[in-house]
């Protein structure tokens, strides 16, 4: 099949738009989606200092590249959680990438900030809860702290279409109304978080990365609690294969429902953390609780 936009042979069929792309037009299509998302939702102002939370994976690396090409003040932030045989690799990829593309890279680590690492937290945790429940919270906290220190106006994460759809379904199946409704990217004390990659599917992102020849860490974190998410991912991909556009439709309908959901669910539930003032449904937020335990 020829590319739908030129006479070249196509290298990928993107099911949700039913389009066939050559390399050049796949790249153009991904970049267009990102820039349209940014423009339509007024995510980034020209003068904003934009900080990309770069994990060394394909999504945030692609996004860093696209934003850096199109906006004047884009920098990267890498957080080292202290996960042996995993984060060292990501770090070396992102370091090389930023050097090559002349992007300012800031780094921070759990060790420097909290005096511990995810590996140590897992070792000492007798409750055997998922490492992500602590690591993820600390990571978010540290990213925000660094973004504030660096005077960032926007904090970018690499969530793609698949991540977004998986999150929606997981929250529904787990009856997690608050998480489902809590999509507001602006909260007091927090740098505004934006997700310009949310319309790009995982497969488009991978294709973009391959065509561009970017190195990224696609190995999975050894602690990732995958069982439920994997199942949802498989089912979603199966649906997408049989009924093209399922993911996009899910995301679009969710986007339309969420303002009402937010009003209903969040109205009476969101307090300020007694300790840090951040949003929480309890007295003290989860981050403060974990930080207290680490003392």
């Amino acid at each position: 099949m020829k590319c739908d936009f030129c006479r070249e042979t196509s290298v990928i069929h993107v099911r949700h738009t039913d389009k066939w792309f050559c390399e050049e037009h796949l790249v153009a299509s991904v970049e267009k989606k990102v820039l349209e998302t940014v423009q339509k939702t007024f995510m980034i102002n020209r003068n904003d200092k934009v900080l990309v939370a770069a994990s060394g994976g394909k999504d945030s690396t692609n996004l860093l590249h696209i934003l850096h090409k199109n906006f004047p003040k884009v920098e990267a932030l890498f957080i080292d959680e202290g996960i042996k045989n995993y984060r060292e690799r990501s770090k070396s990829f992102i370091k090389k990438f930023c050097k090559k593309h002349k992007i300012t890279l800031h780094t921070s680590s759990f060790k420097e900030e909290f005096g511990t690492t995810t590996d140590q937290i897992v070792k000492l945790d007798s409750t055997k809860t998922s490492p992500c429940s602590k690591c993820g919270v600390l990571r978010r906290y540290l990213i925000n702290k660094k973004a504030l220190e660096l005077g960032a106006d926007k904090l970018v994460t690499g969530h793609n279409l698949d991540d977004t759809c998986q999150d929606i379904l997981m929250n529904i199946f787990q009856f997690n109304m608050e998480k489902l409704a809590r999509t507001k990217s602006i909260s007091p004390g927090f740098v505004q978080r934006i997700k310009p990659f949310r319309r790009v599917s995982e497969r488009e992102s991978m294709a973009y990365s391959i065509i561009k020849g970017f190195e990224s860490n696609e190995g999975a974190c050894p602690y990732v609690s995958e069982s439920f998410r994997s199942l949802i991912r498989e089912e979603l991909n199966d649906l997408e294969f049989k009924f093209h556009g399922s993911k996009v439709n899910l995301q679009m309908i969710f986007d339309r429902l969420v303002p009402n959901l937010e009003k209903k669910v969040m109205k009476n539930r969101l307090n300020k953390c007694e300790n840090c003032g951040g949003p929480t449904s309890r007295k003290v937020c989860k981050t403060c609780q974990i930080l207290e335990q680490l003392k």
Partner: protein, 64 residues
């Protein structure tokens, strides 16, 4: 027989010729979860594969 090569070194032989899509479905792969390369270049699902062809499978969904 078309050979599918996986990143971990595993190889699967599929007894079918025809489009890449046909080969993937026959091998039990969901085309939505992978990208395929042949001779170092990405190929689309209508690519006609012949006996003795070898393709590389790239899984899209790893995370962390």
């Amino acid at each position: 027989m078309v050979t599918l090569e996986y990143p971990d070194g595993a190889k699967i032989k599929v007894e079918i010729e025809g489009s890449l899509l046909k080969v993937l479905v026959k091998s039990g792969e969901n085309p939505e979860e992978i990208i395929v390369k042949k001779d170092g270049k990405m190929i689309a699902e209508d690519y006609e594969l012949k006996k003795e062809d070898v393709v590389q499978i790239i899984k899209v969904g790893s995370k962390g």
